[in-house]
Symmetry: C2
Subunit: 215 residues, 2 copies
Amino acid sequence: MKGVIVLEKEISQAVIRRMPRYYRYLNELLEAGVERISSNELSARMHVTASQIRQDLNNFGGFGQQGYGYNVQYLYDEIGNILGLNTTHNVIVIGVGNLGQAIANYNFGKFGFQVVGLFDVKPSLEGKEIRGIPVRMLDELPEFAKQNKIDIAALTLPKENAETTAVMLSSLGVHAIWNFAHVDLDNVEGMVVENVHLSDSLMRLSYSIANYDHK
Amino acid sequence: MKGVIVLEKEISQAVIRRMPRYYRYLNELLEAGVERISSNELSARMHVTASQIRQDLNNFGGFGQQGYGYNVQYLYDEIGNILGLNTTHNVIVIGVGNLGQAIANYNFGKFGFQVVGLFDVKPSLEGKEIRGIPVRMLDELPEFAKQNKIDIAALTLPKENAETTAVMLSSLGVHAIWNFAHVDLDNVEGMVVENVHLSDSLMRLSYSIANYDHK
DNA sequence: TAGATTGTTAATCGATTAACAATC
DNA sequence: TAGATTGTTAATCGATTAACAATC
């Protein structure tokens, strides 16, 4: 048997950051009934270079056709697969304050994200229902995790509790965190984390205001 | 009079993205009572290189001292100034759904952001109060804008209405948008926009889950 | 087939890291 | 002063853009 070397080319963070944006624009094209598009046309819409679009996509495969361009539906589906949106993800929300409730109410269902549980430590919230899901007390989580598959935990809780909760989640077999707490959680063993940090975003806006460069 | 050439070196987006993160870590150090820190110590905490920290900061000025490092309080304040957090920003929220309410309730006050108005088109929301601020109907906005200084509009509304609203805001003299709508708003004349796109973030998490690289 | 547009290699540009002289 | 650590220049690395041969 011949030796085979598989070179897994590492996809850069810059590319990954852009994928959901392509997905979004392709969705708009779909809704507008556009059937095919060239990298050039897409580049004009998205204000990026056609070269970058082709480079980005070719990290994952050749989805286009010379002389034709890209089939919008096909490319949309392929990017969906790349992003893992072909799988259903069960989500729990930990911290059912205003933001937690907003997330629980958010309509992520069409992308395959399903809220299956809400948890808090505040007794007054116990039993409150959001979209038919009751708020449970956090100490019920270990039992809940045994009975239900949990793919993602959205953390909307004070930063003081974030790390401890992340470690607990890891021990319960939850390996992905969508983190809204005001602290970075990128050092929890075996855990995939996406930090949101709304206040960072607001500060960048503030910076832009202060340094408005009359573009 | 001698001619003076001021070379405004353009600060890269990569640097600007990192500034709020420095601010956050410095705040933690302050809370922990740490008085001074070297780029090396900070680098270990933040998992970035010391070189990058020094380069980043020196885009804005020399805030450290050879042989000593950086005074935490001083550096914190300076970064706050760079980010424009020394100014108060009046914020209105347009779209008072779950996310809009969460933002209205969010505690951004300590960074100088003050929610001064809430707007929606849904009559059933009229008069509802959040933190003492009543929900107004969107058609009252022009009058409200005349009477009040508005620095930032947070948009939490359906993507279909985002662009129109942005244009209206521009005409009312509002020049900064914190955009939560599921569409990019980077082509509105004279408008500074920070796009949040929570679903992009969730998709990146989904990607990480699908491609979990056993780090 | 001729024209269009991709996939991909090569060139350029910018950002990160390393190194070290300046200096507290 | 000697030691430490910055500010800054130079070297490296990676990402973006340009170019073009392959091909539908």
